[in-house]
């Protein structure tokens, strides 16, 4: 391990490796960083601490080039960097994100490959060995390997992949963002050992955490952030814990918690839960009283959150639930709401707010009934209720019509809280009441919660912050492995007791285990669609040949394969765009345009020069459309469906202008070349197969192919890995149109004349072929061989339907059923194989 870093000279120690000069960053409505300066010296571990939302991750996103600062400069080893992740990486910066920046549809090896700076990047053929080595260096006994697809890994395994990737890049500056959140104790020790090795070699480490003790253990200097402002950099040994906390929160904190509820023993139980079980928890029973705040504590993933979500109808749960003595069902969110259960989720951004809607709409969505007069919502009543809530909960917003996303985290949380209360639930379930909320708003939220409880609502709180539970709750239940293992009441509800109970009850971090049937695991893989569709083609063929001997005739095959070749070519094009998660509707008209353009050049007596010009013109026309599609999506920001719908129409207009009526017979030269056969087999199909193999190889075994799939799999991660969105998208659209242009040549000999309406059906057919071949419309997944097989399958079914003398209705039924069946199997298997 050490010889690995010997190349890094010890002379770097003490020099500024990473320097940020008064960096400011604005987001819509919020200033995340305000003139923060930060310097990391060679050979040091530099702690970066602050509360959630203090701006630590934003600062490091700017340092690593993932974000550009609104103002200020960043220097890595003295060189300026601005919003260029690739450049930062080349200068030796590696970052381990709290949410791993991996591309889920790619393998571990491919992700590590893309994460390397160019000079360290292995050959694609050596990618797996390189990744194996990187993983082994972390821990030779890992339960996963380089060939595993990232989406099938659990959070811990993903995080280890992220760390192994960063270490393999031989960083001179390593940024670790909350690294211990996802790691077990053993891996934390491993991490600390690696950090010491790195700094011994002269490299520096930035260690971001909100856990003060951890930072004190590992860091030599520390910088504190509060509300986007730097609070100074200090040698670690000059600060004691109290002083650090003071720097983090701004002042010596006075007690932020309100008076507790007093004696609740005689209060009547409101919520009764008996033998409630679900995914992650089992046989949980409890009675929660009128006006009581109950806290659920435990190490993450021990069932407390899952239990809460099941009560809210968000996860499946079974058992007896009673609210105010009445048995209720919590089988769905709607039923839970009707039962008098209100829910405030922890992940505010993803499931708390309706980001695009106004403060008013976000408030009233949970209690629209109240504003409804004879079936219609009274906007007057609604507004007055919203104004009351905004005033009563002290929500700072310019107006009630402001989109909620432009409010600060604390104000969003207060508004959503007021909305849940507005529905007047008997029981309120609250997951992480103050996550991402600044300290001032935090005290306010505690006060409000106690008020709500005093007014008679029963509250259950899940929180990972023991101090919060201790200060807020009347009673605490500690979860371990899905069950309640301890209950703390009255004077026992203090932080130390809770922390101790949590730590002693769970000796080991819960490990995620999930067994997946071999079939689903295989079916989620790269080759399964090809095998499945191939088998279906053979089965249908065998059946057809048993019905009619003509099926196996040369004439039938010859005709069918020519059609397959045409569809396959355009399907390859469509595959490129689907791989990046977009769609191209214009391919059909582009083929028609190719036929029309060709009809001007491939005349009966066309010479080779004319023919060559024709080929160039057909392909140039196609590429022109591809470029237009790129401009519309990239530059005008249009949705791919909408952009290519516009070009779908416009390209037809061009074809109709060139040939208002079908005209211009296609000359014999095209028939001779494109329609050539070896025996009875059209040369076209050989070309299509060769192209599929070539493209497949490129997709799986070249850097460009991996980058294309990575971009489609997750754009943000791909961008951070230095894949240019601009170039990738340009390439996808140009290649798509190019292949549609190629497909125009075989279409010419099918149509025979410059028909402006030809080719249009190929748009939907190309999508169908690719989808049957296993492509995901979400991007990142798909194969060219699959597209070829999809094209073969579609034509096979058409042919067989005629042999069976089925009505033409049946060709449509079979197409529809084939698509649905194929996609249902693929999407089900991918969900089964994914760890979540």
């Amino acid at each position: 391990m050490t010889e690995h870093f010997s190349s890094i000279s010890a002379g770097m120690a003490g020099k500024a490796m990473l320097q940020l000069n008064s960096v400011t960053r604005d987001f819509p409505g919020v200033r995340a960083l305000d003139a923060v300066s930060f310097t990391v010296l060679g050979g040091e571990v530099h702690g970066l601490i602050g509360e959630n939302g203090a701006g630590k991750s934003t600062l490091m996103a700017i340092a690593s080039g993932a974000l550009a600062p609104t103002d200020g400069q960043v220097f890595i080893s003295g060189k300026p960097i601005k919003g260029d992740p690739d450049g930062a990486r080349e200068l030796g910066l590696a970052i381990v994100h709290q949410e791993p920046a991996l591309m889920p549809d790619l393998t571990v090896a491919e992700n590590i490959f893309l994460g390397m700076p160019h000079k360290l990047r292995p050959q694609v053929s050596g990618m797996a060995a390189f990744a194996r080595q990187a993983l082994d260096r972390w821990n030779p006994d890992l339960s996963f390997g380089p060939e595993d697809v990232v989406s099938s890994l659990n959070p811990e395994q993903r995080f280890i992949t992220e760390i192994a990737k960063a270490l393999a890049a031989q960083p001179r500056i390593l940024v670790l963002d909350e690294p211990t959140e996802h790691l077990g104790a053993e891996d934390v020790r491993r991490l600390f050992a690696r950090i010491r090795e790195l700094t011994a070699g002269g490299a520096s480490v930035v260690y971001i955490s909100h856990r003060i003790r951890e930072v004190r253990e590992i860091a030599e200097r520390v910088t504190v952030l509060r509300d986007g402002q730097g609070q100074g950099t200090y040698p670690m040994d000059t600060l004691d814990e109290g002083r650090i906390i003071e720097l983090i929160v701004g002042s010596a904190i006075e007690h932020p918690f309100p008076e507790k509820g007093g004696n609740l023993v005689d209060a009547k139980p409101v919520l009764m839960v008996r033998n409630f079980s679900g995914d992650g928890f089992r046989d949980v029973s409890m009675a929660v009283r009128h006006g009581e705040i109950l806290g659920l504590a435990g190490i993450d993933a021990n069932g407390q959150r899952e239990f809460l979500r099941a009560l809210a109808g968000r996860n499946a749960g079974s058992g007896n639930v009673e609210v105010n003595g009445k048995a209720v069902s919590v089988a769905s969110p709607g039923q839970a709401r009707k039962a008098g259960i209100g829910f405030l989720p922890g992940d505010r951004h993803h499931e708390g707010i309706l980001a695009d809607l106004s403060v008013r709409e976000n408030f009233s969505i949970r209690s629209t009934e109240t504003d409804t007069v004879s079936g219609l919502v009274s906007e007057q009543r609604e507004r007055s209720r919203v104004r009351d809530a905004v005033a009563g909960y002290n929500v700072k917003t310019p107006s009630i019509e402001t989109p909620i996303r432009s409010l600060s985290g604390g104000n969003q949380q207060k508004l959503i809280l007021s909305s849940v209360v507005g529905a007047e639930p008997a029981v309120m379930l609250i997951d992480e009441p103050t996550q991402g909320v600044d300290i001032g708003a935090r005290a306010e939220i505690y006060r409000i919660l106690r008020e709500i409880a005093n007014n008679g609502t029963t509250i259950i709180v899940v929180s990972s912050d023991a101090a919060e539970i201790a200060g807020l709750c009347d009673r605490v239940m500690v979860f371990s492995r899905g069950q309640i293992v301890r209950e703390l009441k009255g004077d026992d509800v203090v932080e130390n007791n809770i922390t101790e109970a949590v730590l002693t009850s769970t000796t080991e971090r819960h490990r995620y285990e999930k067994s997946i049937g071999w079939f689903w695991k295989w079916a989620a893989g790269h080759w399964a669609p090809i095998v499945l569709v191939g088998l279906a083609i053979l089965a249908v063929g065998a059946y057809a040949s048993s019905i009619s001997p003509f099926y196996l005739s040369a004439r039938n095959f010859s005709g069918m394969l020519a059609l397959v070749g045409t569809l396959a070519l355009v399907a390859y094009g469509q595959q490129f765009v689907l791989l990046i998660g977009e769609i191209d509707l214009s391919v059909g008209p582009v083929m028609g345009l190719g036929v029309v353009v060709g009809s001007f050049f491939f005349l009966q007596d066309a010479g080779p020069a004319m023919a060559l010009l024709g080929i160039v013109m057909v392909l140039a026309a196609a590429l022109g459309v591809g470029f237009l599609n790129f401009l519309l999506t990239e530059k005008l920001g249009m949705h791919a469906m909408v952009a290519t719908l516009a070009t779908f129409i416009a390209v037809q207009a061009v074809s109709l202008t060139l040939r208002p009526q079908p005209d211009g017979l296609i000359g014999p030269g095209v028939y001779n070349v494109v329609g050539a056969k070896i025996g009875f087999v059209p040369v076209l199909i050989f070309v299509a197969v060769a192209l599929a193999l070539f493209l497949e190889f490129g997709l799986l075994r070249t850097g460009a192919g991996i980058a294309l799939r990575g971009f489609g799999s997750r754009r943000e991660s791909a961008r951070v890995a230095g894949i240019s969105p601009f170039r990738t998208r340009l390439a996808a659209y140009l290649l798509c149109s190019f292949f549609a242009g190629l497909a125009a040549f075989p279409l010419m000999i099918q149509v025979g004349i410059g028909d402006p309406k030809s080719g249009i059906n190929y748009t939907l057919a190309s999508i169908a072929a690719v989808v049957i071949g296993g492509a995901s419309l979400a991007g990142g997944r798909g194969t060219f061989l699959g597209a070829l097989f999809g094209a073969l399958m579609l034509n096979q079914v058409n042919v067989v339907a005629t042999f069976l003398r089925l009505s033409d209705a049946w060709t449509f039924y079979l197409q529809g059923i084939m698509i649905l069946l194929g996609v249902a199997i693929y999407s089900h298997s991918r969900r089964m194989a994914a760890s979540h």
């Binding site: 400011t24 969110p333 993803h350 219609l376 249009m638 469906m641 109709l656 995901s776 049946w810 249902a824």
Partner: protein
């Protein structure tokens, strides 16, 4: 510097913001009729308008269906099949001797059933909407061909009369379209279910956490779309005089185009069926104006494509400038 940025953020709403996403289409439509009046007076004569309006109405109803599905982040590519099915069912059931109202109910049920299948496949099996509805479109096309054996069926007489008659000088089909749009708009904007529908479209996870059974609204969007398409299909059959298996082909993409031009974004949640309806009028009149100026089909198509690009460009141009500012 910081003063400057905070001041720009609190500035008065710009003209674009005041017109709003759905205001443009009203302005555009008024302008279009003014331009038509100047450059192609023939296209705004009484006769021309009366023959254009029923088509605008039918396209408007189709666009309403598309809007609802797009609000749920979906897309219904089976519209053509549902349109053809609506016309075919009402004609076939009438030919069997069913009274018109029952035949109409049968047509509606057919469209809604197709929508239900779409919705359940999308939500329960999590198949991408485009793929689901593409496949369902193929199945519906097969069904329509099976019913018709490839030849058109005459529409019932009463339906023909309804589709071609006028009241107070306006075609019934237009009035039906207006009524349809007003009802759907009122439901989505002013009722509990409408509010929940929008919330689910904006963010199904948030909606579920707020106690809304999101799946119900997602499936409901497809059912409502199927209903819209079958209504349009029946009107179309009545207007043309017969139901053919190719009836819907000309309405699928124009219907989606109308939604786009109307300003409903593909990002889900927000949307306006009224804007889509007006956009249907806009697109239909645009085609008529261009044709009556003596331009070819090609020019007509070209102008439509341009309308889509401009419609989206106008709305995004302003915002994208904001985005560039904050990104730098």
């Amino acid at each position: 510097m910081s003063d400057l940025t905070s001041r720009t953020r609190e500035k008065m709403p710009s003209l674009t913001e005041r017109i709003g996403e759905y205001g443009w289409i009203w302005i555009g439509t008024v302008l279009l009729f003014l331009i038509s009046w100047v450059v192609a007076p023939g296209s705004v004569s009484k006769g021309a308008l009366l023959s254009m309006l029923p088509f605008a109405g039918m396209l408007g109803i189709v666009a309403v269906g598309h809007t609802l599905v797009i609000q749920q982040r979906g897309l219904d590519m089976s519209a053509a099949g549902s349109i053809a099915l609506g016309g075919m069912l009402v004609s076939m059931l009438s030919a069997w001797g069913w009274p018109l109202y029952l035949a109409v109910l049968g047509g509606l049920a057919g469209g809604m059933l197709a929508g239900l299948c779409n919705g359940l496949l999308v939500t329960r099996l999590s198949i991408t909407p485009i793929v689901t509805t593409l496949a369902m479109g193929a199945v519906l096309t097969g069904l329509v061909r099976q019913i018709s054996h490839g030849t058109p069926i005459a529409a019932p007489q009463a339906l023909k009369e309804f589709a071609t008659q006028r009241v107070a000088g306006l075609p019934y089909s237009l009035l039906l379209a207006v009524l349809f749009i007003v009802v759907v708009a009122t439901i989505t904007r002013r009722t509990i279910h409408g509010r929940r529908f929008v919330a689910v479209g904006v963010n199904p996870e948030t909606a579920a956490s707020a106690g809304i059974d999101a799946e119900r609204y997602q499936v409901g969007a497809y059912v409502a779309a199927g209903l819209s398409f079958s209504v349009a299909g029946m009107l179309f059959a009545g207007y043309i005089g017969n139901a053919s298996h190719t009836a819907g082909a000309d309405y699928l993409l124009p219907g989606i185009a109308a939604v786009v031009v109307g300003g409903t974004p593909f990002t889900g949640g927000r949307g306006s069926v009224v804007a889509s309806g007006i956009a249907a009028l806009f697109m239909t009149q645009l085609g008529q104006m261009v044709l009556s100026m003596g331009a070819s089909n090609a020019v007509q198509l070209f102008v439509q494509a341009l309308a889509i690009v401009l419609a989206v460009g106008l709305r995004t141009a302003d915002f994208s400038m904001f985005r560039m500012k904050s990104a730098r």
